[in-house]
């Protein structure tokens, strides 16, 4: 189980970093877009918040999974 969490955390870290490298901004069209905001880097704050929320939700789901595992084992042993 510990290895699973380790893998999960490395996945989160990789997904957080990789789009940063891929980001090449080009303002081409007339319509106003959030290029300035993104070049200031502030959009990454939002992305960070999203990743934290998702991570929390996933940990919650995993905990429920483990609790269910435990309950299922208990009932298996009883019957």
């Amino acid at each position: 189980m510990k290895a699973f969490y380790k893998a999960l955390f490395s996945i989160i870290a990789i997904t957080l970093v990789s789009p940063v490298a891929a980001l090449a901004q080009e303002a081409s069209g007339q319509p106003e877009m959030a290029t300035g905001m993104r070049s200031n880097g502030l959009i990454f704050v939002v992305v960070g918040v999203i990743v934290i929320i998702l991570g929390g939700l996933f940990l919650f789901l995993i905990r429920i999974d483990r609790k269910l595992n435990k309950m299922e084992r208990e009932i298996d042993n009883k019957s």
């Binding site: 996945i11 989160i12 901004q25 081409s28 319509p31 992305v47 999203i50 998702l54 995993i62």
Partner: protein
């Protein structure tokens, strides 16, 4: 089937794809369009919610027909819990759509009846609410499973008609409906597809994950009362 509910690899896939959706969805270059501006990114977040609802209900329908074919109560449990999660996704679709429409279509109060597709989705969702009411009103387990399985076949067909057929025949603001061009016209170089399709898959897997927990809980409930599924 129960063993698949406990396997980890597809849950890990859900984690990876959802994280990809929400990071790449915020950061990739999107086409600059009037009216839409940055809200074009909602294609990654709002539309997959509806796709997931449709897909989860399709799997629910498949399990309903499996129940009718084999008569195993476990199939009926799977069908019910999938429908439950699907309805939650549908409600999320309404809330996100209302917010998006408020800023792009400028429709604040009459949004439910202003668009055929929204009204169709609303009726479709009500049909599935009726599915749960129907289930709740039949105390006998086998009878409940059989009646609701038959009902869910009709419900799904009606949902498809209300969401995909009628909006194309009449007027709708949604892309691809009522004579409007489909979304591919906004995404000429197909970059948005790179996030959109993984997003649909990610939402769907997450929905399956939540449903799997509900199914296991339901089965535990039966086993506690010494009924083996």
């Amino acid at each position: 089937m129960l063993r698949q509910l406990k396997t980890r690899w597809w849950k890990a896939l859900a984690v990876v794809l959802l994280l990809y959706t929400f990071t790449a969805g915020m950061l990739i270059d999107v086409p600059a369009r009037f009216v839409l501006h940055e809200t074009i990114r909602n294609l990654f977040f709002h539309v997959p919610v509806w796709f997931t609802m449709i897909l989860l209900l399709l799997v629910s329908l498949i399990y309903s027909t499996l129940y009718l074919r084999h008569g195993k109560l476990a199939y009926d449990i799977v069908a019910e819990q999938l429908a439950k999660v699907a309805v939650v996704f549908g409600v999320l679709g309404f809330l996100t759509g209302a917010l998006w429409g408020n800023y792009t279509w400028g429709d604040t109060f009459s949004w439910l009846f202003a668009d055929t597709k929204i009204l169709g989705a609303f009726i479709g969702l009500l049909i599935y609410v009726a599915y749960f009411i129907l289930r709740g009103s039949v105390p006998d387990e086998e009878k409940r499973a059989r009646i609701s399985s038959v009902y869910s076949i009709f419900a799904y067909i009606l949902l498809i008609v209300f969401i995909f057929v009628i909006p194309r025949l009449t007027d709708s603001l949604h892309p691809g409906n009522g004579g409007n061009p489909a979304f591919s016209t906004y995404d000429l170089d197909n970059t948005m597809r790179l996030v959109f399709y993984p997003a649909v898959f990610a939402y769907f897997l997450t929905g399956c994950w939540i449903a799997s927990q509900l199914i296991r809980l339901r089965i535990l409930h039966y086993r506690k009362h010494n009924i083996n599924i």
